[in-house]
């Protein structure tokens, strides 16, 4: 049982670190703010959540704290991403290679 939990912990740490590295790489490689926000959201949700699954498996004394933090991160990650994307749209940052912008008519209609 102990060996099984430690194998879960090693797998979780490897997957979480991989998601963090890929997210930071995407943050440097993507062209504009909105696509970068997608990569940063992956670090916030998947990277830390897999590390917390590893922490809950490897330290059985405190798995409740880890589960609370997992649900908190799953609730607040999309809210933060939406707030930042909304602010980026409102101050008028441009989207690279944008095909269609449905929100522009809505925002203009609300301001008139």
């Amino acid at each position: 049982m102990e060996t099984f939990l430690q194998i879960i912990a090693v797998t979780g740490i490897v997957i979480g670190t991989g998601f963090s590295c890929v997210g930071v790489l995407g943050y440097f490689r993507f062209p504009d703010v909105f696509t970068r926000l997608h990569a940063v959201g992956k670090v916030s949700v998947f990277g830390v959540v897999f590390l917390l699954i590893a922490a809950a498996a490897a330290t059985p004394l405190s798995w409740g704290h880890s589960v609370v933090l997992i649900f908190f991160l799953l609730a607040t990650g999309p809210v933060t991403a939406h707030a930042i994307a909304s602010a980026a749209y409102r101050i008028g940052l441009e989207m690279k290679d944008s095909v269609q912008d449905d929100l522009a008519e809505q925002v203009r209609g609300r301001e008139e």
Binding site: I13, G16, T17, A55, T76, A83, I84, I91
Partner: protein, 92 residues
């Protein structure tokens, strides 16, 4: 045997996360625009969270996960208030 692998994995993951924190801090220093720097601060907060969780795994203490919970709450409230301030020039 597997315990040695676990300890080695935790050390390597901690090293990689600290390197990623340095990279994100460099991006706070010279980002392209204000939203880019704000995203870098959010990324730095998230990576600090990951380092705290790995520290809890190294020392096998639960207090680091409690500190990570407080840091997550403060980072969330700060980011939402700052995004609101940038888009509307208001804090509330």
């Amino acid at each position: 045997m597997i315990s040695t692998v676990l300890i080695l994995t935790i050390r390597i993951a901690l090293f990689l996360h600290i390197i990623l924190m340095g990279v994100a801090l460099w991006r706070v220093w010279n980002g392209e625009n204000v939203i880019d720097r704000m995203m870098a601060v959010d990324l730095l907060s998230t990576l600090t969270l990951a380092v705290l969780v790995l520290t809890a795994l190294v020392f096998r203490e639960r207090i680091y996960i409690d500190a990570a919970l407080g840091l997550a709450a403060l980072g969330f409230i700060g980011m939402v208030a700052f995004a609101r301030y940038i888009s509307d020039d208001r804090m509330y």
